[in-house]
């Protein structure tokens, strides 16, 4: 992505002068470079995009996920649940909860 893309997007969205001035503080050059890659289950890079705009395709053999766990399954046979634990709180946190006192 080049700074010109930002200026064009801003124009399409109806940006004001202040927004344009801030964006123009950014160097007039390419700002993002891609570098996408598709990685196989064994950790090897299957395909790399480099810097050009492209759609990068690859087949992934997901059955290799099982073979890749031979020596290392960080969530299973290479973990120690009796030593280390992880607790994930999946409760939504809306911040404010409305209700009657009887519903506490």
């Amino acid at each position: 992505m080049h700074r010109d893309d930002l200026l064009n997007g801003l124009d399409s969205a109806g940006g004001n002068d202040a927004a344009f001035e801030l964006i123009k503080q950014i160097p007039d050059q390419k700002l993002q470079f891609g570098g996408s890659m598709i990685i196989s289950p064994d950790g090897e890079i299957a395909v790399e995009a480099g810097r050009a705009e492209t759609i990068l395709h690859s087949e992934i053999d997901i059955s290799l996920n099982d073979e890749a766990k031979t020596a290392l399954d960080t969530d299973g046979h290479y973990s120690r649940a009796d030593v280390f634990g992880l607790k994930v709180n999946t409760e939504p946190k809306p911040g404010v909860i409305w209700g009657k006192r009887s519903e506490d």
Partner: protein, 206 residues
């Protein structure tokens, strides 16, 4: 027994800020990737709306009450994806038609705050949200933090698909949580991939 999935990553310049136009671009690129055989298709971090790179590159972006930053924030609020966003109907139709799994980042608005959401579109169901748990450094000027309710995977028939966003890959416990969710395919969403990140991402395979 082999089980092969056709995957694609769309590496393209987004249309920054103007999400209305960005959605058209995403529909076109998704259709193109699907026509070439892809069934799992990934786009980068906040592809819809573009990565707010002025936070890194414009020296005055963090100044108090800066009119340019406020104007950009206002535009993102106006353009951001909202829950059940009707503008995403064409993308959902495409996903339904070809039975795709599409991971795409977007600026999302909930009430009056913005979030960095890497959504997973899947056939016949609402998109699965994953809101970035900790916006990195200057990103905190734009995005609120997601809660733990969106740390999840899409359960496709052939395996689980999940995603993490950018520096969430530097959170060892977020990685551990994703390992526990048993992903068959992990989408690692970044605004741009530098060489130093390569080890971080390839090692997630294990």
């Amino acid at each position: 027994m082999s089980a092969t999935i056709r995957a694609a990553i769309v590496q393209a310049a987004p249309i920054p800020i103007c999400i209305d136009k960005g959605i058209e671009q995403v529909v076109d690129l998704t259709a193109k990737a699907a026509a070439d055989g892809a069934r799992v298709i990934a786009f980068g971090e906040t592809f819809l709306g573009g990565y707010p790179i002025w936070l890194d590159e414009a020296p005055d972006a963090a100044l108090w009450d800066h009119p340019g930053s406020k104007a950009l924030h206002g535009l993102l609020m106006e353009q951001a994806i909202v829950e059940n966003d009707f503008r995403l109907g064409h993308l959902q139709d495409l996903v339904d038609k070809h039975d795709l799994v599409v991971s795409i980042g977007a600026h999302e608005r909930i009430r009056s705050s913005l979030y960095n959401n890497q959504m997973i579109f899947r056939a016949g169901a609402k998109p699965l949200n994953h809101r970035k748990l900790v916006p990195t450094h200057g990103e905190r000027l734009v995005w609120n933090r997601g809660d733990g309710s969106t740390l999840n995977v899409h359960q496709a028939e052939w395996g689980n698909v999940g995603n993490l966003i950018c520096w969430e890959h530097w959170m060892p416990l977020a990685r551990a949580a994703m390992h526990n969710l048993q992903e068959a395919v992990h989408v690692s969403a970044w605004p741009t991939v530098r060489e130093t990140l390569c080890n971080c991402i390839t090692s997630l395979c294990f």
